[in-house]
Symmetry: C2
């Protein structure tokens, strides 16, 4: 870390007015290779400019890609988009203000004190990141999340809400762009049942964020929910945090959504600049490309040294992996691209796996996220002249050095403060870096064709489950094993039938019993339903 290009600042990309720096000095990159990236980055910037001007940047799905307009509505290529963004933001802030002021009350005339967000993937990863980063005991509404179709998990969240101020004082926000995501729909149905069990009308506590005309939109309007906020097909789920998806929960919690938007908008300005030396997102994309040989050969280990940014790496998992993990490039060649992302926070994670990072497999690069501002409260020395924050800094620097000694690359992103502005900056920085990288490796960052297969297979599985359940005899003495059920159904996958039978018999929810046998394949089952 002491060659000339390091100490002359060649590898430092700094924007002081923004309060953002990207330090590539410990990436062990070749300066010549970085120069060679220049024309490729120029093409990435051109592609990005076209996208921002309304090109069909998602060719498979024939969609515009408009998340950058969310924080600069005037840039939208269609006046109607500008107006829709501005109107939605106004409505979000207005609704939150009314909830806070008591102009919007529960059906029984109480103040809302909790907000429950139901969603999954892009509809919760951003809201969870922001809620965790910026929330605290002073929040106007306390936030909770349901992000799965695990009934036990839902029961736990509902139990906590009830143990708090109760569902009566809880506003529920259901977020689903398509309105057809089953996990979210199930969460909604389960929660509506819980309200009903408490003698409460769900509709009077419910708000939707969804696409116009979606299934959820119809339910919300038909049942008279409090409000419906829009989603648009030109904003993808994983880049929707700065639409109503993220802004509504944040505003309800009492967080500064204007500062988040400003942080993102200012970062957009900085990341439109030509040349990686002036453009922190281009610098990141080029570094990812070079360190992973254009093929993601190194995993991205993301370590924010700030507890409140702990969920940022999880947010990035989706943004990076769903955007870049692609089978085909734009020319149709099979490429199997992607970059694996993991991490929680430093220095905590040092105690979990720095051992492997330093001594083990050399298949990653670390992204240190440094926040300059230490704490809001008064200074406290844990040693003479040394604070806890100095230790946090020391552990980050020490790890940087310990990794560099072993030739393990790392880069450092520095922001001034982990406030609403900083949280918005990180979102915008990585959105654009991912977009640039996609151009560098010639893929579509804005579709996700691979997620449908699992959903389709799940639907088939549920259909199979119904057939399996119906095929079971009520007579114990005629109990069937998996092979018997499969034969009866003409189903070739005995093992899948066996797994379904085990689920039905041991889940505790179906009238299916195992009557004899041991193990997945030898067990015999019958129905316990009234015949």
């Amino acid at each position: 870390m002491s060659d000339e290009r390091v100490t002359d600042g060649f590898w430092l990309v700094e924007d002081e007015s923004l309060g953002l720096a990207v330090d590539l000095t410990a990436m062990a990159l070749d300066p010549d290779a970085m120069e060679v990236m220049a024309p490729r980055l120029a093409r990435a910037l051109t592609a990005m400019a076209a996208l921002e001007n309304g090109a069909i940047a998602n060719p498979d799905e024939k969609r515009m890609v408009g998340h950058y307009w969310l924080r600069a509505p005037g840039l939208a290529p269609v006046q109607a988009f500008t107006e829709a963004i501005e109107a939605a933001l106004d409505r979000v802030k207005d609704f939150a203000a009314k909830v806070h002021s008591g102009a919007v009350l529960t059906p029984s005339g109480k103040r809302f004190e909790q907000v429950l967000v139901i969603g999954i993937g892009g509809s919760t990863l951003g809201p969870q990141y922001v809620s965790h980063a910026l929330g605290g005991p002073g929040d106007k509404l306390r936030a909770a999340f349901i992000d799965n179709t695990d009934p036990d998990g839902i029961d736990r969240v509902v139990a906590r809400l009830r143990a708090g101020v109760g569902l009566d004082a809880t506003l529920t926000v259901v977020i689903s762009k398509s309105g057809g995501t089953k996990e979210t729909r199930n969460g909604m149905l389960e929660v509506a049942r819980a309200y009903a069990a408490d003698g409460l009308a769900f509709a009077g506590h419910a708000v939707a964020v969804t696409g116009d005309g979606s299934e959820l939109d119809r339910v919300a309007r038909g049942d008279g929910w409090l409000e419906v906020f829009p989603m648009w097909d030109w904003v993808g789920g994983r880049t929707s945090e700065l639409s109503a998806v993220g802004l509504l929960p944040a505003a309800l919690q009492g967080l500064d959504v204007d500062a988040m938007l400003a942080g993102a908008r200012d970062t957009d300005v900085a990341t439109r600049r030509e040349g990686w030396r002036q453009n922190p997102a281009a610098a990141l994309a080029a570094a990812w490309f070079l360190t992973g040989d254009g093929h993601g050969d190194r995993a991205m280990v993301v370590l924010p040294y700030k507890d409140r940014l702990e969920l940022f790496s999880r947010y990035l998992q989706q943004l990076v992996m769903e955007s870049l993990g692609k089978d085909k490039d734009l020319d149709g060649a099979t490429v199997h691209q992607g970059i694996a992302v993991f991490g929680n926070k430093g220095s905590t994670d040092q105690h979990a796996y720095v051992q492997q990072l330093r001594d083990g497999r050399d298949d990653f690069f670390v992204t240190f996220i440094e926040v300059l501002r230490s704490r809001v409260g008064e200074r406290f020395d844990v040693d003479p002249g040394v604070t806890s924050a100095d230790y946090l800094f020391g552990f980050m620097e020490g790890t940087r050095r310990a990794l560099a000694e072993r030739g393990r690359p790392s880069l450092t992103v520095t922001i001034a403060e982990a406030d609403a502005r900083g949280v918005g900056m990180l979102i915008a920085l990585y959105e654009r870096a991912v977009g640039f990288y996609a151009t560098l490796v010639n893929i579509n960052a804005y579709h996700q064709p691979g997620v449908e297969a699992g959903k389709r297979a799940a639907t088939e599985l549920l259909a199979l489950q119904a057939r399996v359940e119906a095929a079971l005899p009520a007579d114990e003495s005629a109990a069937l094993d998996a092979a018997g059920v499969a034969a009866k159904l003409g189903e070739p996958e005995v093992l899948t039938v066996a797994r379904v039978l085990r689920h039905l018999a041991h889940g505790g929810e179906h009238a299916v019993a195992r009557v004899t046998g041991t193990g997945l394949l030898a067990s015999r089952y019958c129905s316990r339903r009234a015949s």
Copy 2:
């Protein structure tokens, strides 16, 4: 997934009395290769038996490795160990009972209602996993954790404790085996300050879990803390969950520590069996070995389909990566071993990165963790005859299939229930699988030589910070840039000095100001301290 070896159960390792199954059918392993593993696994079992009998299984550190004795104290090779384990468990349960009954009260005579755990790494990852998995609104004490030296993060936890029942009713457990871990010590000092600020005597609210004679042990005994519980050098941090480290927080929270211990003990019995067909831990280790070519070439993506197991993958990150991420093998050859571990939970993570898993880089295997028991409460149908749990199962099965279609391997671990017993089973299963795998690749799983370098570098950094701070002139007109400070100090790493200066000036805690210049290297700083 329909060849003969699959449907004849060849790849299924089931133990029904235990309620545990490992399904390797979707790993696409070669049956002949699996047979070839037999003699290597036999050696791993022999090595493990020696370890359990008290061999020096951690040769570098000349230590016995005794975590299996924690749940079967009679197996310890030394009578004093047996007695120490039994006595510690009795004391943990007795102390928790007294806190619950009110026989132990706060200095002001109140009941304790919250427990704050301060630790990091092995001292919190297990407790956090268990607390999250088994806790809920009915806990006897509500649990909170401080697991870092981030003062802002500490302030947030303290603010939440104050907003709850207050520090007055909060018991603090400080966990550090060596007693010298700086993050934990800083957390303790910060929290002690918070108690003092609230007019409370910290010692009357504090309990330690630490090694005999450690720095923490001396502080706790010297200051008259409520209790000190033991840690022993024959239990490593990452395998300490079933010592007082994990059992004390769990018992205080009101969780069933006996069931956790029984789950682990029964799993130990099952994982001592010869032959992988009878031994789920051996089956896992062999599968890891074959799928990663004996070198961790595939990352382990861990997806429990159960919200309450969400932190298990994080717990595993340490257990697997710190144990297996090693530079040298036992013969001194350089091997750079390791297996990267990441994941949160299903089906949530499907919406984050199944796109990459199915279409992108082919460099991982998924571990599905299935829990048969769906929910404790009453059944609720989200579609006719279909529950949320059926969807959860369907998404897991669907993803298994969607990955298999693309040749992406996965294995499934099934447990009956995610209760205290199941939580203990998973710990024991993976502890032993990691131990077996270490023998398969001929490494020491029980040391962590790579973590010292970062700590040493951090100490050097803090010393440098003090010198940098002292080197700054108080006179603004004589302000120095990083190169100037480095020259004055004879410090070769200008960039490091520059980063220290930025931290000092912008952290908000030190009397250092930037007076002119822009950017890391050109900024000039002076001191603001009274001269």
